[in-house]
Every structure is written in C-alpha cells, then in structure tokens.
Symmetry: C2
Subunit: 333 residues, 2 copies
C-alpha cells in the first residue's frame, strides 16, 4: 500500500510516499481502507521534531475516514464495507474528566496513522460516518472537532444565548468552535489578523469579526458590545491577559493550546470576577461520540483545500504557513 | 452606643471608640446587639486606604454575632433575644455562580459594620447562631468561613479522600479551609514560612506541613508524596506557577486572592493536564447557609486571640503583622 511517511526530522520535505505492506488487524482491531485524511498542526510539529520520542519511519495522520476492510478477532458490530470515521484519541482511560497519561496516545506517531491507503485502529475508535457527509468532510472532523467540542461544551459549558469569543479564527479547531457555537444558538465573536479569514468566519455565521492587528485595543471594543460569557483560546500570552479583562463576572476561559507561550495574568480580575480558566486537550470517547452526532443534524465542517496523497508535502506546507481557513484534507485513492 | 470608627486613612491608629446613637432598624432590617466581632484583612486594608471610595467616619467590621435587639417592619421568623450570626455579604444577587457587581457589598464600609454594640443588617443576612458555639466562636466564622467554604466546595468540588494543598496556612480563610477539608475526609497538606504556624496546623489535623522558606523546591517534595487533587491559594505569583506544576492531571486550583500579585504561568501544563484555575471571592447566600450547618456537627473555628473593643487598635495591629493563626476576635460588652 502507499503511505506518506516521515523519514527524518527537519520539516515536511522529509515526507515521502512509500510502498509498504498492508498492516494486519489484531485482536480487537479494525483495518480501515482510508479514503480521506486531514492534517493537524501536530503532524507538522512532528516533522519539525517538536515532540519527544519520535519514532521513524512513521506514517503520520490522526484524522481519517474510509471503509472497513477487515476485522480482527473479538470485533463485533461492524462489517466489511461499513463507512467509518476514526477517533484518533487512543486509550484515553476511564475518567471522562481527564486522560490517563500513562496510556493515552494520539493516532499517527508512535502508532502509524491515516496518511496511507490502510490504517489499523482499535474497534472502540471506529465510528460510523455521518451519512450526509462525504469522505473528505468526515475526515476533516476528528481531532479538531473533538478538541473544539470538549472546549466549548464539556469544559466551557456553553449555553444557548451566551456570547462566545473565539480568538484567532482560521485554524481547524477554532473553525469547529465557531460552527458548534452557532449550532448551539450562541452569539459568536471572532478575532484574526487576516481580513480574509474574518470574512470567511462571517460567512460561517460569526456575528462580530474583529481584526486584532488593526484594533490593538480590541478588549475595549468588546466591552462596548455586551458581556462575553465564554472565551476559547489556544494562544495564551497577552491574549489570556486580555481575556481576563473582557470576560464577564462568572465567565469562563477555555485554553486548549499555548502557541504564544507564557501568560502573565493579574490575580484581581480572576478572583474578584469568579472567573474559571479551564485547560483542555483533545477529548474523551464520550466527547467524540457526542460531537459526531452533531453532524447528523445538517452541520458540515469547513474545508480549506483538498490535496492528493502525492501532494502531501504541499498540504503540510499550506498548514505550516497558517494560511488555511478550515481543514486541509488529503484524498487517498 | 460604643463603636470603633475610622476617622481618616493612615492605618489602624486612626481608629477610635466613639459614642454614637443606636441606629434604627428599617423595613426588612434587624438590629443586632453585637456581643463579639472578628477582624478580616479587609478591615486593615480599609484603614490603609487600599479600597476605593472610603466613606468616613465609618464603623468597620464584617463579622459579628449577638442577639436580636429589635426588628424592623416586614420581618418575620426572628424574635428579640434570638442568638444570631451575621452573613456579611450584602445583596449578592440572584445568581449563585457570581455576585451582582452592581449591588453586592460587604458589611462594614460603606454600611456601618460590627465593631460596635449594635449593628443593623438586612433580615436575610441574619442566621441563627450554631447552638454549640460561644459568641466569640460564632463571630469568628462569617467572612473567612464563607470564603473558605465556597473555595473548597462550591468552586473546588472537594471529594472525600482527595488531597488538598493549602498554601500559606495561618490566616483566617486558610485555617477554615484546613478545618473544612479535614471535616470532609480529605488529606490536607499545608505550607507556611513559620514553623509555629505549621505546628498549629498539624494540631488542627494537617497531614503534612511544609516550611516553604526552608524547602524552596517544595513542589518536588510534593511530587513524591502522591497526586494533589486540589490547591487553594490566595497569593498568586510564583505560588500559582508552582501549583500548576504540582497539581495532578484533571486537578483544580482555586484562587481567592492575590497577595503576591501577577503570576506568569505556563500554558502547557494548564491545557495538557486539563487543569481548572477557579477564581472565587466571598460567597453566595446558599454558600453561607451550607457553611454554617457544618458547625452543628462538632466543628469549632480556630481563634488566635480575643481583644476587648477598647483594645481594637491592638487587635488590628496583630492582624496587620500577620502573626496570627486563626481569627482575631473582639468582645463587645
């Protein structure tokens, strides 16, 4: 089979399509014929050596959709040919509140991932594809949709009618946060430094779109538009500091990443306003199942661009440059 | 009546016992003959001018216990002579999750407080004194007990068998946190820079007491003793940074103050460990009622020292020097 594999650290140019053996499905595992996959920043970071203990060569890829090609033993409830989508969060553990750090891993390093014609995954991680979605759409959902769902609902406890601020829209997760927030009947405010991304966010339903580069004092702008109940952020740094300033008393700030790095935060608004700062990462099996059900209801993920597996390096470079709005998808013939 | 009043900003020496008229109880209000009161840092901070819009002269004091002396109109459920304790959180509002910033105030500035023979308070803020407690014990509870209860249970969601880390034990709130944590069946770890306070905390039930001044790398010490589920802190700064380091995956950090000031925090442990940082301040009427019930169950507050009202300045200076362990109380004859 054909597989997009990383051979050495140093960036996406070290990825190569190799011809390798189709892996066997072991006990409790399913062999999926992958029809489409999607990229996450995690994949780019691995090519850049930003994760510990990178094993190579390795087939990257956390997100994938396709058909069941073969079932290992002790597997029931699925048949060959079933259209499925993969939950990439492996061995989360028994506690829905937090993963078991001793067992949890993400599909696509160390375990071979979805950027290949076939992938083997545990049966618990195989879910039926929402019928209304194409393979490309289904493949665009898993890791980003899971992270967004947990951030917004499980951790953020978003309620209909609330206002949610989505900082730095454009990446996969924040685009799902916007999609889910509008689905949930919330008022959505987005920020970006790109007018083009803000325009696309408006088209997806954003009620207010602010260019933070052109409006350095965007917190002031927000204070005049009404209370912000929930903020979803993955940057940290100055954004978290400003988030504490603008969030309403009793409001929540959910953090699922820290691209800008450390944040110097003031204590007074934190305790005086009874603010909750809630860290989150990926999501539980319960989160994944609940998230997937939203796509039976007319929702469609935002797709930035679709590449062929042979153009995988170009797909990685599109993501690395952060020019995308929505998910970067691979089709796998 | 005699009342300890602040006449100008500049510290506790500007407090003076004055002879003033007994205030009348208006509609929905209760006149309480105060028998004992207790100090909070808030009282000291007001004498130092650290609050906005300080009105003077003013009778300070948030905490008090005594007997009902007179009832205003539209008051039912209480009779003259009933022994009561006062909830100092006035007009919290309708949302148990957060106070209404437009209405909420704390008794004892701007409204005259409990450091007087009589105080007038809204009937909803008057609760029956737990029968087992003396007036001094009951007076020691309100503001610190309320803050501790909300921090530990309403916000911190402490469960029996969990481990709670109480940073900087000795002040009123942290002493109640320790008391309540042991009552709830938790394992309690305390820190202080004073061996004397650590010794007193052990006597109150602390399972592990760490001198953080003598053990600069106390987080390392904690990592070897087992997971910390919940941290209750009011300092911020480097302590919050260390708290993020030691709290278990899925753990909670409750912040009810920020004496050290701004904290530079790392994003990675926050999101990767699914940590919750939960701000809190004072407590709701529901918190107060639930907290008070704990004292029907054999609990007794820790009292540092009892002063006469005439020695009020000495009481303030004891608190200002932070030498106390537990509450500094005034008796009011």
């Amino acid at each position: 089979m054909r597989a997009l594999r990383l051979h050495e650290i140093g960036g996406p140019q070290n990825l190569r399509v190799d011809d390798v053996a189709v892996p066997p499905a072991g006990d409790g595992e399913v062999l999926v014929r992958v029809r489409a996959a999607a990229l996450n920043h995690r994949d780019v970071f691995i090519t850049q050596g930003l994760y510990p203990r990178i094993r190579m060569p390795v087939t990257l890829g956390s997100d994938g959709a396709g058909e069941v090609a073969a079932l290992g033993s002790v597997v029931s409830g699925l048949a060959e040919g079933d259209e499925v989508v993969i939950d990439p969060m492996l061995a989360w553990g028994d506690d829905p509140r937090v993963w078991n750090a001793a067992t949890a891993t993400i599909l696509g390093m160390p375990r071979d991932g979805t950027f290949a014609q076939y992938a083997v995954v545990p049966v618990d991680n195989v879910h039926r594809k929402p019928p209304a979605l194409s393979m490309e759409e289904a493949a665009a959902i898993p890791l980003a949709g899971l992270t967004a769902y947990r951030a917004l609902f499980t951790r953020g406890a978003l309620q209909p009618g609330e206002t949610v601020l989505i900082t730095g829209v454009g990446g996969g997760v924040q685009t799902f946060v916007l999609l889910f927030a509008k689905w949930a009947g919330a008022h959505a405010i987005v920020t970006s430094s790109s007018d083009e991304k803000l325009e696309r966010a408006r088209a997806l339903g954003a009620d207010l779109a602010i260019n933070y580069a052109a409006n350095a004092d965007w917190p002031k702008l927000l204070r005049s538009t009404g209370p912000v109940d929930l903020i979803v952020d993955s940057s940290g740094g100055d954004t978290l500091r400003k988030a504490l300033d603008v969030v309403r008393p009793g409001g929540r700030i959910v953090i699922y990443g820290g691209t800008v790095g450390e944040a110097s935060i003031k204590m007074f608004p934190l305790f005086w306003k009874h603010v909750s700062i809630l860290g989150t990462s990926m999501g539980s099996p319960q989160d994944f199942a609940a998230m997937l059900r939203l796509f039976d209801d007319g929702l469609r993920p935002a797709i930035d661009r679709v590449f062929a597996l042979d153009d995988g390096v170009d797909a990685f470079e599109r993501l690395a440059a952060a020019h995308q709005f929505g998910k970067v998808v691979l089709t796998i013939e």
